[in-house]
């Protein structure tokens, strides 16, 4: 260091060294020796040149104090240890790459060059890099930002929005060269998902990554029809993934008006972006799976409901049809023999009319049902997924129960009306083996044996056919 101060005074020394005669010195009034006089600024410049040449890149360890970001965006601080202090600053342009927020009391390692602030004649450190000593710098930055955003409520559960059932367009923010976009496209292709992707390419690694990802998020949010956004990249080191731990990316995610799925790196890496996003996918492939699964889920729901609907109505109509056919074969509807009282004919006609009416109504409905069914089948083709089928089994069990109950109720109604019809018919009694006895003219039904004498002719009506008979004895 001593050579620093040699230079300015060298000339002075030389000047002083110019020998003047001893007597002249004594005789003449005391004259100052010829001196090299510096202006303050010249000296300062000289000092600055010396320092800047000598300390181009130094690493300094110390404790931060008086940390402050000024209006111009630059950071000013003092670095100190137990004996000395060093003033320092960091330009705004460099400051933005800092992974943590410098604060008083932090023990740091700084890198930079020594320079002189001429107006004040102060030497100081122009800091180019700053990192916390001890804990990894990135870890500190991560924890600080996480805590701050959490306090702001950016991670709150009630901010999380549900994903759309059927996205119109899926926005994707990632690099076009990375593995992420290929993984996403592959998954969607493999799952046969008809997805409309809008990719907004962004740099996902390096110093520019964070502002670029934030820019892409703002851009994708403006595309009409994009109703879900996947943002991410493939796996990498913590430094590679760092853009997703930057505040500007976190805030850009928070501002996207539609749900955002974060998909950064491999399963174990949690980033700030993951906390802010509405859904966190462990990998880009997983993000695509999530979107498709949601679609499958809705497909399954439609198919399930559809199948229940068809089965319910079909079994109801078929049940009713069967009952109507069954009624046809009942005795009440069997051919009524001629010559039987009018009431039985009335009953018979009534029953046929009823059967016909019910059958016609059901017939029309059944045809309509079959028509709708056929139309539906065309939508069914190739739509089902194996998983959904198994889920269907439980639903159809339930359904069968409900259908059976309905059918039984309808059957009971038909039984009842059939029974009523039968009771109207005298044939019902004859069918059980009884017979009706008449006088010979068939104008009177015989109710009393005393009404006839042995030798009288009478008529007997049976379930099938009639007998002409002669009374042989009364009692």
């Amino acid at each position: 260091m001593s050579d620093l101060f040699d230079l300015p005074f060298e000339e002075d020394d030389e000047a002083a060294g110019l020998d003047a005669p001893a007597d002249a010195r004594r005789a003449a009034p005391l004259e100052p020796p010829a001196r090299r006089v510096f202006r303050v600024s010249d000296l300062t410049v000289a000092i600055r040149d010396l320092l800047e040449d000598r300390f181009v890149e130094v690493w300094i360890e110390g404790e931060l104090s008086n940390c402050k970001v000024w209006n111009n965006g630059h950071l000013y601080f003092t670095l100190k240890d137990d004996r000395s202090q060093l003033k320092g600053f960091m330009f705004r342009s460099t400051l933005r790459y800092l992974k943590f927020k410098p604060a008083d009391g932090q023990h740091v390692i700084a890198r930079g060059k020594v320079t002189v602030y001429e107006p004040r004649g102060e030497y100081q450190l122009e800091c180019e890099h700053l990192e916390p000593k001890g804990v990894g710098a990135l870890q500190v930055a991560f924890e600080q930002l996480k805590q701050r955003l959490q306090q702001e409520g950016l991670f709150d559960a009630d901010r999380k929005r549900p994903l759309p059932a059927l996205p119109r367009k899926i926005g994707i923010v990632t690099s076009l060269d990375g593995a992420a976009i290929r993984d996403i496209v592959n998954v969607l292709g493999r799952r046969h998902a008809n997805a409309h992707l809008v990719i907004c390419p962004a740099r996902v690694q390096g110093a520019d990554a964070a502002p670029d990802v934030a820019r892409a998020l703002r851009q994708i949010a403006r595309v009409p029809g994009v109703d879900v956004v996947i943002v991410g990249r493939g796996g990498g080191s913590i430094e590679d993934l760092w853009a997703f731990n930057e505040e500007m990316v976190a805030r850009a995610i928070g501002r996207v008006p539609v749900p955002v799925i974060s998909a950064v790196g491999h399963e174990t890496d949690y980033t700030i972006a993951d906390f802010v996003a509405d859904v966190r996918a462990p990998t880009p492939s997983a993000a695509a799976e999530i979107v498709v699964a949601r679609q499958d889920e809705f497909c399954g729901r439609i198919d399930r409901q559809h199948d229940r609907l068809v089965a319910l109505v079909r079994s109801r109509v078929q049940g009713l049809s069967r009952r109507v056919h069954a009624l046809d074969s009942r005795p009440a509807f069997a051919g009524v023999p001629r010559g039987v009282a009018m009431r039985s004919r009335d009953a018979s006609e009534l029953s046929h009319a009823l059967t016909r009416a019910v059958r016609e109504r059901l017939g029309a409905r059944t045809r309509r049902l079959q028509l709708l069914d056929r139309e539906l089948q065309t939508f069914d083709a190739g739509r089902r997924l194996a998983g959904i089928r198994t889920r269907l089994v439980a639903a159809s069990e339930r359904l069968r129960g409900a259908a059976a109950r309905r059918r039984d109720r309808a059957a009971a109604q038909f039984h009842e009306s059939a029974a009523r019809l039968e009771s109207l018919s005298p044939l019902a009694v004859l069918g059980r083996g009884y017979a009706v006895a008449w006088n010979a003219a068939k104008t009177r039904v015989l109710r009393d044996a005393s009404a006839v004498q042995p030798g009288d002719a009478i008529a007997v009506t049976l379930s099938r056919g009639e007998i002409e008979a002669k009374v042989t004895k009364t009692s």
Binding site: L166, G189, H196, V198, R316
Partner: protein
């Protein structure tokens, strides 16, 4: 689907589910069941049509905000 009475995909599924539930536990007249059935079929068709309508497409949004088709290398997966 042009049926304006169907609001959107998710609403359609919800209505379909409520119809099936009604058919399952309601003591409905045959006529009423069939009306519900027809509505259900309509909803189911609407949902499937929406699924079919989704188109497989990949576009790139450049920094100027223009949408361009993705390069073949990407669409081929």
């Amino acid at each position: 689907m042009t049926d304006t009475s169907i609001k959107d995909f998710e609403a359609a599924i919800a209505e379909l589910e409520s119809i099936v539930k009604k058919l399952e536990d309601g003591d409905l007249a045959l006529e009423q069941s069939l009306a519900l059935y027809e509505r259900g079929v309509q909803l189911s068709r609407f949902c499937h049509a929406r699924l079919e309508a989704a188109e497989k497409r990949i576009e790139i949004l450049n920094e100027r905000g223009e949408l361009k088709p993705a390069p073949d290398s990407l669409t081929r997966g």
